[in-house]
Symmetry: C2
Subunit: 347 residues, 2 copies
């Protein structure tokens, strides 16, 4: 019999494909396992929403900043956030996993543990997957959701005059990453601020909780739905707040104006770095996984009031070409917001 | 301006993520591109069927035997075959692609070309994906289909007395691989036989065409549907005919008997290798992507008659524990069939 010590460091090559599959099946509902594909029920009249993400060791995650549980949590959260951004409720995810012979079994189990911890908060199962041998650890997640056809949130639906709403603070995830990479920078921060920023990076929450509040506003305040087009545009801020606003404006053929001081930042972030650095991370840091929504101002205000955390109206949609970042205090020059990932290269 | 010669060898690092995405978007329907997730309509009352596969360069494909188009075709075919095995009609696939900076742009485009050639035969679009940097080229495909709830084909539905049907020949894909790896072995084969075997390996066809024939039999010959359980068990033979039959029997808690001489083999295969080798490849070679179905004998016979290619009843379901391979001629000893991939290791 293997000693617990040995078991802890057991490698994939020690258990083989079948051994690993057996261990991973306990993370899936029993009735799902055992056929060529999984079968899922959808609510009548709903449409299917599908999104996929691939994560590669050394490119998208690293043992230096991310425990295996957090790799799993973040991967699941990113996909659920894409569903939330479309207005969809999650049905399940599939997981493609590439592992080397040297990968530790416990590492893989902890990744799955992190995924189901995140998914569990939204009653979402892992419904299938594939485990293969690969020279580099790779995780490929596809998430499915369902949405009522007249409640699909698209990037292209922003209209001139709409308010631009953010559902929470930005920049904290980037600050948390900085603290993980350079712990010495956090020496002036108290423990709870450090913890809050690191948690924002390691355990981001997909904002699926915003959807019932949005639908409630739709039902009770009679937003005008024309041609079955929801009067709400949106996407998530996974690539940064600036990217989200610019993407929505481009897809909608409109421009925008965003007021610096209206962008909500956490107190922890403002205690950690200068206001200028905090704003830069809010705009371009990415991975905050909040929703950026454009909707008529009166309804935007109701939404912001109903969201318990630091949601805010940060600007409005204009008929200009660009998205301008303005400063109501006169301390900073106006800027034009950019796509943060527009020039990512494969080096 | 780049010369056509240079363009042919253009690398991912020369075009970047955005450049590659733009090139790949032309393989997707225009209305799909541009949101956080894709939206797909399903027929009312249908259930969602989901399957996923991951393929890694050097593990699951190799330039030695497989052109990029064929990599794409085979990846799409394998996923559509899993849908067919569940009784589901395809709705779309998502593609996660990991590429190195050194990967040629034309290689990626040819993989996508191969995928849409296969998908096009079944009116199935690529509805989304992700492109990431990776040290090894990786392809992760998730396919979605829809199925009427009382037409879900499960492995666990085989009953004692059922006939075991194969929808076509087996072993040809493995023979084609052998010819690609060792062309000199094919010197006694004529060109059309060589081509047929190589095509079986490079361009396998998912047997979605079998489903309407099955449903027609269900509708016209009144197969008894008890408790909404389809009286048809099945899976595809992607891991070999032996594996499929054993998996179905295990999932159904039954055994089986298969008659050697009833397993259909192609003439090309029998001209290439000995009958014994051909049968071995049929049972354990894999990647033929036929369907293996278990259903009451009278309906099995109707099905076989309706399938134009070499479909056959190869055996029957018994109340024993194992699946026995018997020889009606007395030339061979009886054998017990095994799972061909039961002990794959991660070395």
């Amino acid at each position: 019999m293997l000693s617990p010590y040995y078991k802890q460091f057991m490698k994939i090559r020690d258990v083989g494909e079948q051994g690993l599959l057996q261990r991973l099946q306990r993370f899936c509902p029993a009735q799902i396992v055992g056929d060529d594909a999984a079968v899922l029920s959808m609510k009548p009249g709903c449409e299917l929403v599908v999104t996929t993400d691939m994560l590669v060791d050394g490119v998208h995650f690293s043992d230096r900043t991310t425990s295996p549980q957090d790799v799993g949590w973040r991967a699941a959260a990113a996909n659920l956030s894409d569903l939330a951004a479309m207005g969809a409720s999650p049905l399940g995810i599939t997981v493609g996993l590439g592992v080397t012979g040297d990968t530790e079994v416990s590492w893989v189990e902890q990744v799955y543990q992190g995924m189901i911890e995140c998914l569990g908060e939204y009653d979402t199962p892992i419904v299938g997957g594939d485990v293969v041998r690969s020279p580099v650890v790779t995780l490929s997640i596809t998430a499915f959701g369902e949405v009522t056809p007249n409640r699909i949130i698209r990037r292209s639906a922003a209209k001139v005059g709409d308010a631009i709403v953010v559902t929470g603070v930005h920049g904290s995830s980037r600050a948390g990453l900085e603290l993980l990479l350079h712990p010495e920078l956090g020496q002036n921060l108290n423990e709870s601020a450090k913890k809050a920023l690191i948690k924002a990076h390691q355990r981001p929450k997909p904002r699926l909780d915003v959807l019932p509040i949005l639908w409630d506003i739709l039902d009770n305040y009679q937003l005008p739905i024309t041609n079955y087009q929801l009067p709400i545009a949106g996407m998530d801020s996974s690539d940064g707040l600036a990217d989200a606003i610019v993407q929505i404006c481009r897809a909608s053929g409109v421009g925008g104006v965003v007021t610096r001081s209206h962008i909500p930042l956490s107190d922890s972030l403002l205690n950690f770095v200068s206001a200028q650095q905090a704003l830069n991370w809010a705009l371009y840091g990415g991975e905050d996984f909040e929703l950026v929504l454009c909707l008529p101002t009166e309804f935007a205000q109701i939404l912001v009031n109903k969201l318990v955390e630091k949601a805010a109206i940060v600007g409005k949609i204009t008929n200009e070409q660009d998205v301008h970042l303005i400063d109501s205090t006169g301390c900073y020059q106006n800027e034009i917001l950019n796509l943060s990932r527009g020039f990512q290269h494969f080096d």
